[in-house]
């Protein structure tokens, strides 16, 4: 099963490597990992997407909690939550493709944020499936490069991850 784990961690040098090192040392899967400081700059928030049986996910959350610098760990996919990912796609946009690309971007509620005579950079946000389907929907041969942030997530309603 796919799980989205959110955690708060002291914003200190090496904190990220403690988390990534834990995953590699114990052979846990990591699909994506995002991290950035929170509104309190002394603390970072990490979102980790991992795949594993319930037993493994239980171990992952326990092992993360055991890291000295980790303040709080929550599996936000256990209940209603929102996931978002940001993708930037640079595409070839010439001739008839130029109009088509603009149309596809509009359909997926993307924004064209860089324009040259021959290229567009399209900014797209959404959950992982939406970004995947955009890639599926456009002509692959026109994609010059893509970059994705990985998933960040938050619980719905009153579920709050805070110290």
């Amino acid at each position: 099963m796919r799980h989205v784990i959110s955690l708060l961690i002291e914003n200190e040098a090496g904190a990220l490597s403690r988390v990534s090192g834990l995953f590699s040392a114990r052979a846990y899967n990591i699909e994506s990992l995002t991290v950035a400081p929170t509104e309190d700059p002394s603390m970072s928030r990490m979102t980790i997407v991992s795949v594993g049986s319930d037993d493994i996910i239980e171990q992952i959350t326990k092992q993360l909690n055991k890291l000295i610098e980790v303040v709080k760990v929550v599996d936000i996919s256990e209940a209603a939550h929102i996931e978002r990912e940001l993708m930037l796609v640079k595409v070839r946009a010439t001739g008839k493709d130029r109009e088509e690309m603009k149309r596809m971007s509009d359909i997926f509620r993307g924004r064209i944020i860089d324009v040259t005579e021959s290229t567009y950079v399209i900014e797209l946000t959404g959950n992982t499936a939406k970004l995947d389907s955009f890639i599926e929907a456009i002509d692959r041969s026109l994609i010059l490069e893509t970059v994705r942030t990985g998933v960040c997530g938050i619980g719905r309603g009153d579920r709050v991850l805070k110290v």
Partner: protein, 568 residues
């Protein structure tokens, strides 16, 4: 008061009432050594290899309730220490390791004797720090000691760049420390404890299985009280020996790969299992699927939530400090006023006594060649069970665990988790320093002892009268045993040719050496050795090279699929 980083390090060690620092000097720690030199409260023990420094600090910590301290230089000083740190980590031993680092401005420039210490040690420490600002130094050391001994203990490393140890700042040692990210649980969950009590009172075939957590949390007294209150059988893991008196009739011996027949059978066939400070290690329960074939209710007490339901699913998890939880269980049993099912318990004990009847630890006592089991039994008799016994890793370790009856905690020091050959002698140095005047034995093999033999020199310098009991069979015995049983008698590289003359070797270091090759001389030699209170005596016992450790559960097999000596 304004002090240099090096002065702060020493002040902090004094504040923590550190008696001994085990270490080895080098470029990056010269300022710290200079400050050590100028005072006499913290005593330094100069080892001969950094691995020995950490093992010695480890032995010191295991045999006391205190934190062991080691001091090493950057680069090779640290890499040599890594084996010792990983050993302590696997067995949850509280250590603080202070390492020198190249000056801050040189970090990352491939400077002389530079390694990424924090990176290299990260997977084998409870936590580590690189001090980049001298103003953080005192608080960091305070945190290191707090982290090392609280919760599930473990080694903590503090890496100090050379310029930091020379920089001055205002010093004050923090009185207490609080960390928002670290708050170990102490009290067990009341509801869970209530469930546990219910299960224990309803049990027909109960079993208590305890590990190193009982030793580390100094819970032996509480455990004994509870076991006597309930009347249940109890077994210890290799790490848990001494947590319950081995001479007590409710003790069924060690369990696991080389555990007793009765302990392993009872472990498998019980209906309620109380696990205390133990982690269902692969060497303890064998194949987890085989273990799970027999349904039983499991109660698991541990300070570390990640140890619970890791290898074996448990029914009643209790996260908490072992002595507090045991106390609460005993109190609740008293207040409930019920007794365990006497009739069922009687039948269960009858079954266990039948298993005991196998006499699984019997060996040929009339042998003309010295049997290793006999040496350990005699060691037990001669020291009246009062010795601190350190061991290395291999067959001798298992014989020591099986035949020396540990009645008290913190008397048995061995590398159970990592299985580090070379642990025994340096650990014995730490134990001897912590307990001057007490008998300390190092039971070892000719393979293991040579992995840290240089520490004989340290023993001479500090007059440490350790008694080395070398069970010399000329083989890397445990490797040979596996090759014999599972690799068609092909003894690939397990015969140690060209062994030194250990008597002369000991003498060349200034110690006493004795070679014993007849069973009749074993007791006399041991008596003579322990009579020499001020000398290190190196006893080289020529033991039966064919002797194996039994019972044995092959790796990957079920706990009850034991090979017994009589079957061969």
């Amino acid at each position: 008061m304004v002090l240099t980083g090096a002065e702060i390090v020493i002040r902090c060690l004094q504040e923590e009432k550190v008696e001994y620092v085990f270490g080895y000097p080098g470029g990056s720690v010269l300022f710290i050594y200079d400050e050590l030199f100028k005072q006499d409260k913290v005593r330094h023990v100069l080892v001969r290899h950094e691995q020995g420094a950490v093992h010695a600090a480890d032995g010191y910590a295991r045999s006391t309730e205190r934190v062991g301290v080691a001091l090493v230089t950057s680069g090779p000083g640290v890499t040599n220490a890594v084996t010792g740190i990983a050993t302590a980590y696997m067995d949850s031993i509280p250590l603080v390791i202070i390492s020198g680092q190249v000056p801050t401005a040189y970090i990352g420039q491939d400077a002389f004797q530079e390694v990424d210490t924090v990176g290299i040690t990260r997977p084998c420490v409870k936590h580590n720090f690189l001090v980049k600002d001298v103003n953080d130094l005192a608080a960091t050391i305070k945190k290191a000691f707090y982290l090392a001994k609280s919760g599930r203990p473990g080694p903590v490393l503090v890496d100090i760049p050379k310029d930091i140890s020379a920089t001055k700042c205002e010093y004050a040692y923090p009185k207490s420390i609080s960390m928002r990210s670290y708050n170990p649980v102490v009290k067990g969950h009341q509801g869970q404890i209530k469930k546990a009590v219910q299960l224990l009172l309803e049990a027909k075939r109960p079993m208590i299985y305890t590990g190193g957590g009982v030793i580390l949390s100094d819970a032996a007294d509480k455990l004994i009280k509870l076991v006597h209150q309930l009347g249940f059988p109890v077994t210890n893991t290799l790490m848990g020996l001494g947590g319950y008196p081995a001479t007590d009739e409710q003790f069924v011996g060690m369990l696991g790969m080389h555990g007793t027949y009765e302990a392993n059978m009872a472990m498998q066939h019980c209906d309620v299992l109380l696990a205390v400070g133990a982690r269902f290690d692969d060497r303890v329960i064998g194949n987890p699927e085989h273990f799970a074939e027999v349904p039983r209710k499991i109660i698991h007490i541990d300070i570390d939530p990640s140890s619970i339901s890791k290898r074996v699913k448990v029914d009643v998890p209790i996260v908490g400090h072992v002595p507090e939880v045991l106390d609460e269980i005993a109190r609740q049993i008293e207040s409930v006023g019920e007794r365990p099912d006497e009739k069922a318990l009687k039948a269960w004990w009858k079954q266990i006594d039948e298993w005991r009847g196998k006499d699984c630890l019997k060996y040929d006592r009339k042998s003309k060649i010295i049997k290793p089991q006999y040496v350990v039994e005699k060691l037990y008799e001669v020291t009246k069970g009062e010795a601190f016994v350190c061991s290395d890793v291999g067959q001798h370790q298992m014989w020591a665990a099986q035949y020396y009856k540990f009645d008290k905690p913190r008397r048995w020091m061995n590398s159970g988790g990592l299985g580090t050959m070379g642990f025994g002698l340096p650990a014995a140095m730490g134990v001897q320093l912590a307990h001057p005047g007490s008998p300390v034995a190092c039971v070892t093999g000719e393979g293991s002892i040579q992995m840290c033999i240089q520490e004989l020199s340290t023993c001479k310098q500090y007059r440490l009268p350790v008694k080395i009991v070398l069970l010399n069979n000329g083989y890397l015995g445990m490797v040979r045993q596996w090759q014999q049983l599972f690799h068609g008698n092909r003894y690939a590289e397990s015969y140690v040719d060209a062994l030194p003359d250990f008597v002369k070797l000991a003498e060349s270091y200034g110690h006493v050496g004795m070679r014993v090759d007849k069973p009749a001389d074993v007791e006399g030699a041991l008596k003579e050795a322990f009579k020499r209170k001020d000398d290190l005596v190196f006893l080289d016992f020529a033991i039966d090279p064919k002797e194996n450790v039994y019972p044995m559960v092959q790796g990957g097999k079920g706990l009850t699929e034991m090979i017994l000596s009589e079957e061969l």
